[in-house]
Structure formats: C-alpha cells, structure tokens
C-alpha cells in the first residue's frame, strides 16, 4: 500500500511523554511497531503518518501525527495521562482534590510520638467519599515484636471526604501494619522506616464482606493491602500530590505489580542527577531491572549503593545484592532478620537461604513468621495466625534430607498415604508450613516416577527460608510420631 523509499530523506522525530515512567510506542501506517521508549523517544523517520501510543500505568492513549515532507524536525509532547492510582495524585482516576489536599496537609503533622528518628505516614481513603465509615477501621500498627503502637483512634478521620490518616514519629526499623478483615482473617504488611526519612503508605478501601452478608450494616470495608502504595520523602517535607517524583514512583510500583518495565538507564541517571527525593522509585525500578532476562548488574549495583548510602540497611535495598555473582565484599556478613516490603526481595532472600542459611537468623522474625507469608506482587503480605510455636529444633541439612526421603517413602505406601491424607484433613495442630510439606509429599506419591521433593524444591515452591523448612520438616515428623527409620 505505501511505498516509503529507503533513499527518502529522514526527519528527526522527538516524542516526549508526560513523565519518565510512561511508555511510548511509535507505530507505522501499517500498524508495525517501529520503536519504543520510556519517557522520551527520538527516531528519524520518513515523511508520513504515524501512530503514537502512550501507556501510563494501565491507561493507554493513541495519537495520530503527520511528519511533513517540508518539516526539518517534529516534536510531539503528550500531556499527562490519567491512570488508576492508589496514591492521591493529581491527574489520576478517582482524583478527589479534597482528599489530595488532606493527604498533603496532614503529612506535615505528627499525630503520635512513639520514638524518634523517622516517621510513618498512613493515609487511607474510600474511592467514593460518600461513605461515613472510617477508612482506618480495623487498622493497627505494631512493632516487629508485636507491640501495638497505634490504632484507628490515634489518627485523623475526615468523614466528609472519606479519608483517615496517621503520622507517627518512631525509631527507624521495620513495622507491621495489620488489618482485621473480620471473617477473612487478619493480614499484615511490613513498612520500613529509615533514619531522617518519612515512609508514606497509601491505601484504598474495598468490601471484605462475606457473601452471606446481606445488609449494609454487615458490610466490612477495609483497606486493601495488596494494592497499597509506598513512597518516601525526607522528614520535614510535605507530600506533594503534583510532584513528578511521586508520579514516577507510583507508575513504577504499578509496573512492578504487572510485570512491566518502565525504567531504564536514562531514568536512573536523571534520578541521581536531580537528587533522590523519593527513593521508592529507585527501589521499585531496581527490582524491575533485576527481573530482566539479562540484567545489567553494573547499574543495579550502582543504584543499590546510592540507596544504601541514603537509607541505611533497608531490606529491599540489601536484597538487591543477593545473587550468586554479587561482588559485594561483605555480602556473606549481612543478615535479613526483618522481612522486606516487596515480594521480589523475599524471593531473593529465600533463594539465598539455600546457599547460606544464616542470611535468615534462626529465631528472627523472617524465620518465625515465614509460616503465613503470602507472596503477592508487589507486596509481601502475612496472614496473622495464632499458631503455637513448635519448639522444634532446626536439624542439619543432611538430617532434613533423611526426613524428607523418609516422608516420601512413607507416603508411597497405601497406609502411609492414608495417614498423611488424614493428617492434612483432620490435624488442626499442623502449621501452614507443615501442611505444605505434607501436601508436597502426597503430590509426589501420586506420581510414582517422581523424585521426592528436596529441600531446594520445597524452598523454591513454598517460598520460605530454608531454616523454616528444615524446622517444620522436623516438627511434622515429630507431630506425626515418625521415627528416623520410619
């Protein structure tokens, strides 16, 4: 149909997206993709008609442009695209100027002092501001050890505009933000507070009512942790819903959530040049780069260094070093006793625990609480259960292998299979992790040719540190009253 001659003069085309985390696609008149870029794209093209596609978060917009024969260059600038955002940002879906203004204003007030050195700011809103229910209902903040620091009543509730917020000054460290959803249980996620930084948590509520709940009164509206968002800024600064860095961090979080890539070398160079005012962009971005098939470790290491110098030992930054080929000299020395915020970091941690089990110190939170961890992208969530401590000791790797082989052998017999199957259905004293190991044994028993699940395979599939798998194998063995020789 068209005949663009190769010898025809090319015209420089510059495409500028509204921000450096928006994807750009340049498409020909035959709907073939010519080039793609992030934030900015330069390409020399023959005169003609082109389609430009911009993607911000999950929003996609197309534009048609003409590159005329007599033009010396063409510059196209796309205005900001509205996208679905948990953080109350300007030019996003469900943008409520009042909620935005409250989020901004309250980020400067400290509602509660529970320590010093850093701050945690929680902001939760209803999508529609009509509901008078407090969006902070069911929310509590705890130390890693479980001590309650704050609850709904400690925060500021604006019933007219459907939002609740709480700004707590506290010691640097990892904290647990719990949400009691009623019948579905209590879930928590982790928030890391760093020296001289304020960590901002943004969430939107959703309906957690069970199907049986018919009346409006029974509706349980709680913050949805899995779609929440986290930003960071220096303490003393005010959250700016119109800032480019907040927008980029939000888009980067969405990309991490949906397996896309909206960062490149250019984004990071720009970020470091302009001072990092929202390090979460760097954390989200570095984890995106790490998920590449062939990651550029030079850039990732540089980002990790920069972020570490800003934030100190942040688990989601330290996890960037957890790979076989990492050149970090003291990699073997550092441990991650408190859980990271991101699932990707947790995966890197569990993988590393196979090479070096001491990465998760025995008895640390990451070890003890790995039972109810829920790896849901992008956040690592934890289902809070009242499970008794097993009191079991951690066996050696060799002893674990023996026990796993024994379990596999036992489940291969009719009697053993029935015993494990019954245990799965009836034994209320088995922990989630013990049940997962028993289930893996039953699965392999169904396949007569299968190899018994190894420690490596269990760590990979269940995604908990090796120390927890070893100990749970031991406790399962004890609870089922099995002896070493079966």
């Amino acid at each position: 149909m068209t005949s663009k001659s190769q010898s025809e003069k090319k015209i420089p085309l510059t495409i500028q997206a509204p921000d450096n985390a928006t994807e750009i696609f340049l498409v020909s008149d035959r709907f073939e993709r010519i080039e793609s870029g992030i934030g900015h794209l330069e390409q020399s093209v023959s005169p003609g008609l082109y389609k430009l596609r911009f993607r911000s978060g999950m929003t996609q917009e197309d534009r048609l442009i003409e590159v005329g024969k007599n033009q010396s260059q063409v510059v196209f600038k796309e205005p900001p695209l509205s996208f679905e955002s948990t953080t109350p940002l300007l030019n996003t879906h469900d943008d409520n100027p009042r909620q935005r203004s409250i989020a901004k204003r309250q980020s400067g007030n400290v509602h509660l002092k529970a320590g010093k050195g850093s701050r945690l700011y929680l902001f939760i809103r209803h999508q529609l501001s009509g509901s008078s229910k407090n969006p902070g209902e069911g929310v509590t903040l705890h130390s890693l050890e479980g001590k309650t620091i704050a609850g709904m009543e400690d925060g500021y509730h604006d019933s007219e505009n459907g939002c609740w917020c709480l700004n707590v000054e506290l010691d640097p460290g990892t904290y647990r933000l719990q949400v009691d959803t009623g019948g579905l249980g209590t879930f928590e996620r982790f928030l890391v507070a760093c020296e001289n930084w304020q960590t901002l948590f943004f969430g939107m509520t959703t309906d957690f009512s069970l199907r049986e709940s018919k009346s409006v009164e029974e509706h349980i509206t709680r913050v949805l942790l899995k779609s929440s968002s986290v930003h960071m800024m220096k303490t003393g600064k005010i959250f700016d819903p119109a800032s480019a860095s907040s927008r980029m961090a939000e888009l980067s979080k969405i990309a991490l959530e949906s397996g896309r890539m909206v960062v490149d070398e250019h984004s990071f160079n720009k970020l470091f040049e302009e001072n990092i005012d929202n390090p979460m962009f760097g954390i989200y971005g570095a984890h995106q780069l790490l998920a590449n098939r062939r990651p550029d470790y030079t850039i990732i290491d540089e980002i990790a260094k920069q972020l570490e110098s800003l934030l100190g030992p942040h688990p989601d930054v330290l996890s960037l070093w957890l790979r076989k080929s990492s050149e970090r000299m003291d990699k073997k020395a550092f441990t991650l006793s408190s859980p990271p915020m991101l699932t990707r970091s947790w995966e890197l941690l569990t993988r590393e625990s196979l090479r070096r089990s001491s990465i998760v110190p025995e008895g640390s939170f990451s070890d003890r609480f790995s039972n109810g961890m829920l790896s849901t992208a992008p956040w690592l969530l934890h289902r809070v259960t009242v499970e008794s401590e097993t009191g079991s000791s951690t066996p050696s790797r060799a002893r674990t292998k023996e026990m796993l082989d024994d379990l596999a052998r036992i489940s291969g017999t009719t009697k053993g299979y029935s015993m494990l199957d019954a245990a799965l259905k009836e034994r209320k004293d088995l922990t989630q992790l013990e049940l997962s190991i028993a289930q893996a044994m039953l699965n392999q028993a169904k396949q007569s040719t299968a190899n018994p699940p190894s420690l490596n395979k269990l760590v990979e599939n269940i995604q908990v540190p090796s120390v927890a798998v070893k100990r749970s194998t031991n406790s399962l063995f004890e609870k089922l009253n099995l002896k070493k020789d079966g």
Binding site: M1, R30, F31, G48, L49, G68, S375, A377
Partner: protein, 355 residues
C-alpha cells in the same frame, strides 16, 4: 478439513459460590463456531471437546447442580477429563496431531507470586469454587506440559479470564506425569498464548448491542474480529504476530467505555504459527469511510493521502456525504482550498468522520 487439529473449549458462567458471569457461554459458542467454519479453524466436530456450565463432553449436567456449591459443575475432574487423552499420549511419547486449541473463559486468577520462572501461570476457577475454597484448574500448566511433551506441533492457548492475584487461594499445579521429554522436540512447538489481561489484572465482559445485546468477553470479541478480518500476507497466511497486532489495535475500540488493560499475547520462542491461510489473499474486506461535510457548498473536493503522504485520490463532493473504500491503514483527508483536514486510523470496520 483440519483433521489433525483438536480443541478443548471451556466456558464457565455459573458459579454458585462466586458472582456468576454472562459471557463465557456465549464466548464458547462464538469460538466453537469459528473452529467449525471452513474459513476458520475448519475442525471436524468430533475433534472439539466442549465443557460449559450446562454440559461436558456432550453429557448434560443436572440443572440443579447450579444451585449448590458442592454439586456445581464443571468441577476440576470434569475439566481434567478433557486433557486426559493428550496427557496419556504425551506420557507414551506420542505426537497426536498438528495443533491443539485450548480456550478457557470464566473466573480466573494468576499465580500470586511474581516469580518470573513461570510468569504466565493462570488458573480458571471451577464452578464449585467459592471464597473459602478457591478450587481451580491451572490451565497454563496443562498447556506447558503438553508443549514440553510435544504432543502437538502447535499449541494455541486463549484465556479470557481475570489474572488478578488472590491471596486466599494458593495456585495449585495439576498432578501431571513426571516423564522425560525430548527438549529439541519441545523447543520446536509453536505457541500462541493469549491472555485477556496482563498478569495481576482483571478481564472484562460487556453487553454488545450489535450482537443481539448479548454479553461476551471483550477479549474474545477482539480475537474473533482479528480471526475474521486480519489481513493475510502475500502468501495468504495470517500469522500469530498479525493476530496479536490486530487485537492490540482494536481492543480499546471494542471495549468502548469499559476500560480494559492491554492483553498479554506471547508467541513463544520458536517460529510464529500460521493461524490459517486464505485461498484468495485479495478477497479480504475493504472497510468503507464515509466523510460528512457539515458546511457543504457544492464545489468541495476531498483529497486523500495514504500513510506515506502520497496522493491517493481527489473526489468532488456531490452531497454532504462521500464514501470511499480503503485498505486498513493511516490516512489524511483534506478539503481543497481550506485548512480543514483529518488524520484517521482505519482498522477493519467502516468508519464515519466529519471534516
């Protein structure tokens, strides 16, 4: 007739424990019609195994099964039955045919972990699923296993379902034989894996006025439109890449006011598969553009330029409307002697514009 091609078509509309859907039954009908059509998949009826909320492999379910969660069908066993012959063939090391289509529509979810070892992992909830027991079938696991076992030379997987992450429901893989496969054979299996939404996102269904006001999955409609209207290459072949591009180009338009995330389509690492070949590559549909000129004076001329800005035609308006048939592409329409012009994107549907 494509006697060596087979299809597994699943559509679950009725979920007593979850919200029921309106689209999957219609999606199944539409996709099955395409499979049977001579200028579509051209499959013999016996090669298509269908499972819906009403029947599975021609066996009707008791209508009361739709009321009780425990009795709801199809359940996991029903769906696994559809894959059984091919899993047996794969275990025995047999190649069973040229192509297997796997189509699944209903409620679904993606594996919650974002481990990139199996980024496509997606499951379809079975009819007896509810919020407590998220019973499901990991359809992608079957597709991957059959591909590893090279039971077919080509696997077409279409999943018009959500791929959101559900914390309450751990992703469970089916128990498939742990047999050794020839990696070279597996590498050469051509694939077309299409998901209505990217990982972590929801798929949408919609009522289509032009289709007797019935509800369909938006992705299924985009796919069917691509299969009907996508332009073949000069050899008459419509390849996976063409279908993929077509869907990406039309889905927003088909979705209309319903916001849909971009679908995820993976063509695998081996050669692109040829969906079908048209006997006469020139016989495809040429959409019609109707241009309206609100201030018609009687002497206007419309100039049409193609995507390379070459003059295609100059047509005088005889009334305030003018129609012209064109190949899909990008065009510029301008009115002589004025600065009025319009750039348009012409896909395969007729278009009305005002200049």
């Amino acid at each position: 007739m494509a006697a060596d091609d087979y299809a597994i078509v699943i559509g679950i509309s009725t979920y007593p424990g979850l919200t029921s859907l309106e689209g999957p039954g219609n999606d199944v009908d539409l996709f099955t019609q395409w499979l049977r059509k001579k200028d579509g998949g051209n499959l013999p009826k016996k090669n298509i195994s269908i499972c819906t909320s009403r029947f599975c492999l021609s066996k009707k379910f008791d209508p009361s099964c739709c009321e009780q969660i425990e009795e709801a069908r199809p359940n996991r066993e029903d769906i696994e039955k559809l894959f059984r012959p091919w899993v047996i063939a794969g275990t025995l090391g047999n190649t069973s045919g040229r192509r297997l289509y796997i189509f699944a529509s209903g409620h679904g979810f993606g594996k919650a972990s974002d481990s990139h070892t199996n980024p496509m992992d997606t499951a379809l909830y079975t009819a007896n699923a509810d919020v407590y027991f998220g019973l499901h079938v990991a359809v992608t696991a079957y597709a991957n296993w059959l591909s590893q076992a090279a039971v077919f030379n080509e696997i077409v997987l279409v999943m018009d379902c959500c791929r959101t992450k559900n914390l309450m429901h751990p992703f469970t893989y089916p128990v498939l034989p742990n047999t050794s496969h020839d990696p070279e054979k597996a590498r050469k299996v051509r694939k077309f894996y299409a998901f209505a939404s990217p990982w972590g996102n929801a798929a949408k269904e919609k009522r289509f006025m032009e289709r007797e006001n019935s509800t369909y999955g938006i992705f299924t409609i985009a796919l069917l439109e691509a299969l009907t209207k996508a332009r073949p290459n000069r050899l008459g072949n419509v390849k996976g890449e063409t279908i993929k591009k077509y869907i990406h180009n039309v889905i927003d338009e088909i979705a209309g006011d319903t916001k849909v995330p971009p679908p995820e389509i993976d063509l695998g690492n081996y050669n692109d598969l040829i969906w079908f070949t048209r006997e006469d590559p020139t016989s495809h549909h040429k959409p019609l553009v109707t241009i309206s000129l609100p201030e018609f004076r009687g002497n206007e001329i419309c100039h049409i330029q193609n995507g390379a800005l070459e003059a295609l035609d100059s047509i005088p308006f005889k009334s305030e409307h003018l129609s012209v048939s064109l190949e899909p592409g990008l065009y510029k329409f301008s009115i002589e002697g004025t600065d009025r012009n319009k750039l348009i994107q012409l896909l395969n549907d007729d278009l009305e514009i005002t200049i």
